[in-house]
């Protein structure tokens, strides 16, 4: 028997840390049953000691990491996912984790969860911080008032976790449902809930829905519940009466009345069990840190400084060194394979497929991996310490002007390094509209892979003004992103931006284990992509480059299918001033990785590298068309790796939309740049 356990809790309560601690390396990403959302689950490894002496020791439990939420009212996508999972999937138990330093607000979700009548255990996390501050929580008293098991733990230190696992499995095996669910004081709200429960008891019963939960949902005005329960017009009428009467007697509206009822009950419970002397050490420290990091004048400069440092370390020092070593390793293995295949006497076509196609293609993408992982290490650090929420706080106003929220800023910045991690980082955005819009404009931030292209053209055409050209391109990418966002905001994504309601958690040292797992997960994600989509794409490009339209192997690329396609599409670039099949072909191969533009030009011109290549390129076009070509390279659709993650994050249709949008924008802007440049 495998038990299903749902891990539910507020944001910033240490849920992920606990999940990592409990499931370790067994976790995997997959579609959650009952809801069409991807999420993580994993097996709890600890052995269970049954309290009745039976020998069911080898119970396995699958833990589902549900999104961090503050309520299960179905308003945000995360809330809907959690609610649907709990109601449709009937987990054997809920593991509700709470931030004990902020127990009052955390218990609100607990009260809602209890109404679902699913066996449940509370994990009071960060109990060590509560104790260190001289505060205390009387766990026995709390258990008594809430009529539910509670275990004090520290997920970061691992304290209390084995006891927690025992209790949760115990609750799941013996189906210990929350005993007390009547949280209302006698009064109008209490009356309304009980009349409502009476009215719908049969409906809820026949559909196997938790009665009390349905009753409160109806009072709060959740219309989906009316349908779900199959309530007829007559009953709906009575239902309306009950709520209006309650609103009149309580002197407030239905939503506020229910929320207030819950918070009033919590106040009663915490008065008995929570003894608070003052803020925790972490909270006091956070105030001091915030005095600097979100300072009125220093806040933004400090943020830009931190980001520059991360970029410098990632793309200048650590990541680059690691990537260089890594590509040396790849080159070495490629060399070995090359020699081995030659010695074996493999058919030259296959030899070329393996070495020039697979090894070169996948290898060039793989060599990015260390850089991306280093970047992700820093980002995980910003996220886990709590700084990311401050970035959103500081930058919100600026982003709001272009129809996004502060939460989109960091993904956009990462885009200057590489679009792949940038697009993956949009997962932290809660609104799907914001996420799509951010992904649409991220590739306009000039990624580091485009640098070799800029370097080649800048030195060939503008040897004295190379730096100026680079700055021009970076600024143009940023400007186009802003204009594109404004355009999208008023056309495709007209929806209202979600309100910006964000908790600022206390600054904390991140858990080493959690960080390591998060990096490992990103690496796995990247590797899977490298060996599926990117692998296929490189083979396709290799094939196009090495065969002619009659499927004969060619020695001269100018006769290949790729050249034919390049020649066919070259006229499209006529208005941009570069009607040369070699340039259009380079743009196609640039889709595998943007540096490939340079290597393709090297092959097609036969000029090799360095100054000779520069001279060859210079003979192909004017400097105005060179600027247009650079502009197009900067803005057109990103490489396959980025497209693959885009597709994964926002689906096939949106991904195609993004590609078309970016390429059309690139053409238009390049056209404008070319014609302005012609004037000089």
């Amino acid at each position: 028997m495998k038990l299903k356990i749902a891990l539910v809790g507020n944001q910033n309560c240490g849920k992920t840390t606990l999940f990592n601690l409990l499931t370790g390396s067994s976790q995997h990403v997959g579609n959650f049953p009952g809801v069409t959302v991807e999420g993580k689950s994993g097996t709890i490894r600890q052995e269970f000691i049954p309290h009745d002496g039976s020998d069911e020791k080898h119970i396995e439990a699958e833990l589902f990491d549900l999104p961090g939420i503050y309520s299960i009212a179905p308003y945000t996508p995360e809330e809907i996912v959690t609610r649907d999972f709990l109601m449709n999937e009937h987990p054997d138990a809920i593991l509700n984790i709470l931030d004990a330093t902020n127990i009052e607000r955390n218990l609100y979700l607990t009260l809602q969860l209890e109404e679902l009548q699913i066996p449940m255990v509370l994990a009071l996390n960060m109990m060590d911080e509560v104790v260190a501050a001289g505060n205390s929580i009387d766990v026995m008293k709390l258990q008594q008032d809430m009529q539910i098991d509670a275990v004090p733990i520290s997920a970061v230190k691992g304290d209390g976790v084995s006891e927690l696992v025992n209790r949760i499995i115990d609750a799941a095996v013996y189906k210990k449902k929350p005993a007390k669910i009547d949280f209302c004081e006698v009064g109008p709200v209490h009356q309304a809930i009980h009349s409502m429960a009476h009215l719908i008891a049969d409906h809820a019963d026949s559909r196997g829905l938790p009665l009390r939960y349905c009753a409160t949902c109806l009072i709060e005005g959740d219309d989906s519940m009316v349908e779900r329960l199959g309530i007829n017009a007559n009953e709906k009428d009575i239902l309306g009466h009950i709520t209006t009467e309650m609103e009149r007697d309580a002197g407030t509206d239905r939503e506020a009345a229910i929320a207030d009822m819950r918070y009033a009950y919590i106040a009663k419970v915490t008065k008995n069990s929570v003894h608070r002397v003052g803020d925790t050490i972490e909270q006091k420290r956070s105030v001091k840190i915030d005095n600097i990091l979100t300072h009125k004048y220093f806040g933004i400069p400090i943020f830009l400084g931190i980001m520059s440092l991360i970029f410098y370390l990632t793309f200048g020092v650590i990541g680059k060194t690691l990537s260089d070593w890594f590509s040396m390793g790849i080159d070495f293995v490629t060399g070995l394979a090359d020699k081995g295949l030659t010695a074996y006497g493999l058919n030259p076509a296959f030899h070329s497929l393996i070495i020039d196609g697979v090894f070169a293609g996948v290898g060039s993408v793989l060599s990015f991996m260390p850089t991306i992982l280093v970047l992700f290490f820093f980002l995980a650090l910003l996220e886990d310490t709590g700084y990311m929420a401050r970035v959103a706080f500081v930058m919100d106003t600026a982003l709001r002007k272009i129809g996004l929220s502060g939460k989109s800023f960091v993904p956009m910045l990462i885009g200057f390094g590489c679009s792949v991690p940038a697009i993956m980082a949009t997962r932290t955005l809660s609104s799907r509209r914001d996420k799509k819009m951010t992904i649409f404009i991220i590739p306009f931030m000039s990624c580091s892979a485009k640098l070799p292209v800029y370097a080649l053209f800048a030195s060939a055409f503008f040897p004295d003004k190379a730096a100026l050209v680079m700055i021009f391109l970076y600024l143009m990418g940023f400007t186009v992103a802003i204009i594109a966002a404004l355009f999208l905001k008023n056309t495709v994504f007209t929806g209202k931006p979600v309100p910006f309601v964000l908790e600022l958690p206390a600054y904390r040292m991140p858990g080493v284990r959690s960080m390591a797992l998060s990096i490992k997960e990103k690496a796995g994600d990247f590797l899977r992509k490298a060996f599926t989509i990117i692998f296929a794409a490189t083979i396709v490009i290799w094939f196009l480059r090495n065969f002619d339209i009659r499927l004969n192997l060619v020695t001269d690329t100018s006769h290949s299918i790729l050249a034919v396609i390049g020649t066919a599409i070259a006229p499209i670039f006529g208005p941009l001033g570069f009607n040369d099949w070699r340039l259009s072909t380079a743009l196609i191969t640039g889709l595998t990785a943007k540096e490939a533009v340079v290597s393709t030009l090297a092959v097609l011109t036969g000029a090799g590298t360095g100054a000779a290549l520069g001279a060859a390129v210079a003979s192909m076009m004017s400097s105005a068309s060179a600027l247009a070509f650079l502009t197009f390279t900067l803005l057109y659709m990103p490489c396959v790796a980025a497209m693959a993650v885009t597709r994964r994050e926002i689906g096939k249709r949106n991904a195609f939309g993004a590609m078309a949008f970016q390429t059309i924008t690139a053409w238009i802007v390049a056209f404008i740049v070319y014609h302005i440049a012609l004037l000089f």
Binding site: Y75, T76, G251
Partner: protein, 97 residues
């Protein structure tokens, strides 16, 4: 007075939470119920959003959304009509009676 009109360091007792349905519900769930004590800790460097302290935690809210939250005027305790049992002023008044 509206929450959005407060300066850093100032606070008050929430009287009415307004706004569009989903946002309002979210705010209520986050503990911004009538009768809750709330303080403005800081305004972001660019003038918006605001950092608030309530129920022992920190929350940020844009001024436009904070304008939907009406505070009770401190001197007039009875203005806080829909005040809950968890409101410090309210319970103080109750005790006096």
């Amino acid at each position: 007075m509206k929450l959005s009109e407060l300066m850093p360091g100032q606070g008050g007792c929430i009287k009415v939470v307004g706004g569009e349905k989903a946002l309002r519900h979210h705010l209520l769930d986050m503990g911004l119920t009538p009768g809750t004590q709330i303080t403005v800790r800081k305004i972001a460097p660019l003038g918006d959003p605001m950092e608030l302290t309530l129920r022992g935690y920190e929350l940020t809210l844009r001024k436009d959304d904070a304008a939907m939250i009406e505070l009770a005027d401190k001197p007039d305790l009875y203005a806080c009509a829909s005040c809950s049992a968890s409101c410090p002023y309210h319970s103080l008044e109750k005790a006096k009676k």
